[in-house]
């Protein structure tokens, strides 16, 4: 049966997650699909093109509609939550997609929507790119935190003399010590700080 380009990209996401992004090659993917590499090249230009098809599948899950209806700051927070959800289940794609040049048209389209909304909100050209980059960085770093073990450190391995850390890791504070709480606090703080910067055009230099 003929494969679609989409089926190839879905299989590539699966291969990266099960065997690691370094194991993802046109050859290993062809083998997984029981095809010859040459038959994949009818659909996909090569590994770089494949990575962009994988990016498109993930970006499909990111909801950026808030930029159409909400102010830029609350829209950024909605976008960041949706972005996080798309990557938090795909740890092996985070570095792969964060460090390869974006050429996928749907991702570029998403960026266009975001920078347009930032422009309407008063962000000058160029600075809007910095806002996108730093929010993305925050989301992708947080996605790594979500796939980490739940605690920052297990109290049992913390030497007793590290009393401040012990007190902070007390199970009484467990609800504050999760990756979820940290992300919710951090993304709101980041956007609040950006809002202050954008309003004042100056940020306090501590």
């Amino acid at each position: 049966m003929a494969l679609t380009t989409r089926q190839i990209a879905v299989a590539a996401l699966d291969l990266a997650e099960t065997r690691g992004s370094e194991a993802l090659t046109m050859r290993s993917l062809a083998s997984k699909l029981n095809r010859r590499p040459s038959s994949l090249y009818n659909h996909i230009g090569g590994r770089d093109d494949l990575i962009e098809r994988m990016r498109a599948l993930i970006v499909e899950e990111i909801d950026n509609r808030a930029f159409e209806t909400e102010p830029w700051d609350s829209a950024l927070i909605s976008w960041a939550h949706s972005y996080l959800a798309a990557f938090a289940t795909r740890p092996n794609c985070i570095r792969l997609l964060a460090t390869t040049p974006v050429t996928d048209p749907s991702t570029l389209q998403m960026y266009d929507v975001v920078v347009e909304a930032l422009g309407r909100g008063g962000w000058p050209d160029g600075e809007a790119i910095a806002v996108v980059r730093t929010v993305e960085a925050h989301v992708l770093g947080s996605a790594l935190d979500f796939i980490a073990p739940n605690e920052l450190a297990v109290p049992a391995v913390v030497p007793p003399e590290l009393e401040h850390l012990h007190r902070n890791l007390d199970p009484a504070h467990a609800s504050l010590a999760t990756a979820r709480f940290a992300f919710d606090l951090g993304i709101r703080a980041l956007v609040e700080g950006l809002r202050r910067y954008q309003t004042a055009r100056v940020i306090r230099s501590p």
Copy 2:
């Protein structure tokens, strides 16, 4: 000649960077060092222990002395810059270290210093952990951004109809579009937002 534990950990960092963290095993490391795996086990308990020795080497480079002399907010910014520098040259260790449980004593000691300073600055127990996690997430996500290609997207591949993105990627704004500018903006905004939250005990919910 006898190997030290430190030499083994240095070789492991090197192996992870040259061949990927998935290629790092006690066996591959022994082979790189021209030793039998059994001789490594005289120094290192296994792969988990090895990862913690690698973490200790990186954490050695992170300067947290600002927490002794500066207010928590400016100290966090100094710490984040130093933390970023330690990881930005080691892309293959970011995910490995971000997603394994911390047991290395020097890292736990660093966390103790940070949460102590946050406590002195008014952060309640437990919330201080969330501050550490979200700043770390921001730094590690930004480290991925630093090893990415310099531009968010190459203007030549952006379809002409995405005019907002085109305008933002204009070379006239090149100095604002770097990973460095985005990090400087983001970490200051994040810490400013945390400071507002900590002062007001409430953050505007947009």
